[in-house]
C-alpha cells in the first residue's frame, strides 16, 4: 500500500502555550500507507504536535498539509471530516456516557454515521471486551479497556489517517502487544498511522520510520533500523 504521496506534511510549525513556546520549527511528513513513529521522552511536546495537527491548538507559524490541503487554520471538526483522526491518550473519553454512546460519538461525522453498523461490528470483533461492556459507563472501565475504547472510538470515524497518542500507556505488556497487533491490522487495512510513543525501543520495532522529538524540536529522523543503531538513541533511550 506504500506510495510516494505525502498524505501529511508538517512544515516548520511553531506552537505556544500562552507565551511559552513548546514546539520549534517542527517538520515531518508521513507517506500514504506508512506507519511512522513520533518518539521521545515525556513532556517533550509529542502530544502538542498531535493536538496541533488535529486543530485543538493553532500554530503561530508554519503549515500543516493533509491530502494536499492546508488544515492548520481549520476547526477540529472540519479536520475530522477530512478523515484525519486523533486517538488521544486513554483517559480522553466521555466518562458519563456508555461504551456504546462513546462509539457512536466516534462516528459523529456524516460520512462515518452512514457506516456506523459495519464499523461497530468491526470494532466489537477487534475488542470483544467492549461488546461485553456495551452498556457500562466509560468512566467505570479499567485502564486497558479505556485505551481499547479510545482506539475503537477513533476507528468508528472511518479514518484515512490515525494518530495515536501513547497507545501503550498504562497497559500490561500483554495488552501492549495486543494493541500494537491491532494497529498493525488497521495499517494493513489501508489506514496511514502516526504513533506517538515514549517507549522508544519498543516503538522502533513496530514502525518503519521515526522522528525523535526532544525539547520541542525534531532532533533525529530515519528508518527504524538506523535509529536503533544510532549512538544517541542507544544512550538516551535504549539504555545501552
Amino acid at each position: 500500500m506504500h506510495s510516494e504521496l505525502r498524505i501529511l506534511e508538517v512544515d516548520k510549525i511553531n506552537v505556544f502555550y500562552e507565551e511559552l513556546q513548546v514546539l520549534w520549527d517542527v517538520s515531518f511528513y508521513v507517506k500514504e500507507g506508512e506507519m511512522v513513529g513520533l518518539l521521545g521522552a515525556n513532556a517533550m511536546g509529542k502530544t502538542t504536535v498531535l493536538k496541533t495537527i488535529s486543530g485543538l491548538l493553532k500554530p503561530k507559524s508554519g503549515k500543516i498539509i493533509f491530502c494536499g490541503r492546508r488544515v492548520d487554520q481549520l476547526p477540529p471538526h472540519k479536520i475530522v471530516e477530512s478523515g484525519l483522526i486523533h486517538i488521544p491518550e486513554g483517559r480522553q473519553l466521555f466518562p458519563n456516557m456508555t461504551v456504546l454512546e462513546n462509539l457512536e460519538m466516534g462516528a459523529y461525522t456524516k460520512r462515518a454515521w452512514e457506516k456506523i453498523k459495519d464499523n461497530m461490528e468491526f470494532v466489537f470483533q477487534l475488542f470483544p471486551r467492549l461488546k461485553e461492556r456495551k452498556y457500562q459507563l466509560a468512566g467505570t472501565l479499567s485502564g486497558g479497556e479505556q485505551q481499547m475504547l479510545a482506539i475503537a472510538r477513533g476507528l468508528m470515524a472511518c479514518p484515512k489517517f490515525i494518530m495515536l497518542d501513547e497507545p501503550s500507556l498504562g497497559l500490561a505488556p500483554k495488552l501492549v502487544e495486543q494493541v500494537y497487533d491491532t494497529i498493525n491490522r488497521i495499517n494493513d487495512a489501508g489506514a496511514t498511522v502516526l504513533i506517538v510513543e515514549q517507549y522508544v525501543g519498543y516503538a522502533l520495532q513496530v514502525v518503519k520510520r521515526a522522528y525523535i522529538l526532544e525539547n520541542g524540536r525534531i532532533t533525529l529522523e530515519g528508518k527504524s533500523e538506523e535509529l536503533l543503531h544510532n549512538d544517541h538513541v542507544k544512550k538516551a533511550y535504549l539504555g545501552l
Binding site: S54, G55, L56, P75, P76, H77, V80, E81, I85, H86, P88, Q92, L93, F94, P95, N96, M97, E101, E104, M105, G106, Y108, T109, A112, W113, R153, A157
Partner: protein
Amino acid sequence: MLTLILQALINGVLLGGVFALLSSGLSLYFGVARVANSAHAAFAILASHLAFWLYTLWGIDPLVSVLAVVPILFITGVIYQRILIIPVIQQPPLTKLALTFFVAIGVENAMILCWKNIYRSIAVPYSMVSISLGEISIPLIRLVTFLISIITLILLMVIIKYTKVGKAIRATADNREAAQICGININYIYMLTAGISFSLAGIGGVILGLLFAFYPAVHVFWIGKLYTIVILGGIASIGGSFIAAFIIGFLDAFIGTFTSIMWSSIVSWVILLLTLLLRRGGLFGR
C-alpha cells in the same frame, strides 16, 4: 391540620414541577457551556411580559402564545451565545458571570423603559377555577402548568438521552476536547444548548406569568431561587436540580401554608449559604 399538610404537599409538588422546568435550562447551559447565566430569569420574565402583551393586546391565550414565545427565545439564546458568550468563552468564570449579570440588568432596564416597573398578572378566565377533592382544592392553572412543565422536561430528557444531537450535547459537557476530535462542532452545540436553555426559560416564564404577579425587576428574586435550586442539586446536574426543585417547592408550599410567603426568600438564601458552606458540590454533585 392534616388537610393543611396534604394541601401543602400537593402545592409543593405542583410548584416543584415549575421550579424544575425553570432551573433545568440554567443547569443545562452551565453543564454544557460552563456559563452561569445570571440572565436566565430575566429572559423568563421577558417571556412573561410577551405572554402578557399577546394576551392583553390580541387576546391570545398564553397556553397558545407560548408556541410563539419558544422560538423567539430560542433565537435569542442562539444570538446571546454567538454574540456575547463566544468572545469570552476562554475567559475566567467571573468574567462570564459578570457579563451575564449585566445582561440581566440590561434586559430589566429595557423592560422598565418599555413597560414601566409595575405589577402585572395574566388574568385568563380559567385562572380562578379549582378542582375540589374533599377539603383539598387544586387550582386548575397550577395543575395544567405542572403538567406542561413535566411534559417539557420529559421531552428534554428524551432529546438529551436518545437523539444524536442530544448525545453530542452530553459528549460536549463531558469532555470538550474529546468531543472536538470526534468531529463535533462545539460552537454549534453551545449555540443549540443556549437556544434550548432559553426556550425552557421561555416556557417557564409564560408559566410564571400565569401563576404569579410579575414586574421587570422580579427576575432578581427568581434568579436567586433558581441558583439556590441548581447549587443545592449540584450545579450542572440536571437530575440533581430536578430533585432540588421539588425540595424548594415543598419548602415554599409549607412556608406559604404555615407562615408567610415572605419567609420563602430568606429560607432559600439560608439553604444556598448552607449548601455552599457545607457541601459545595450540592446534594448530587460530583
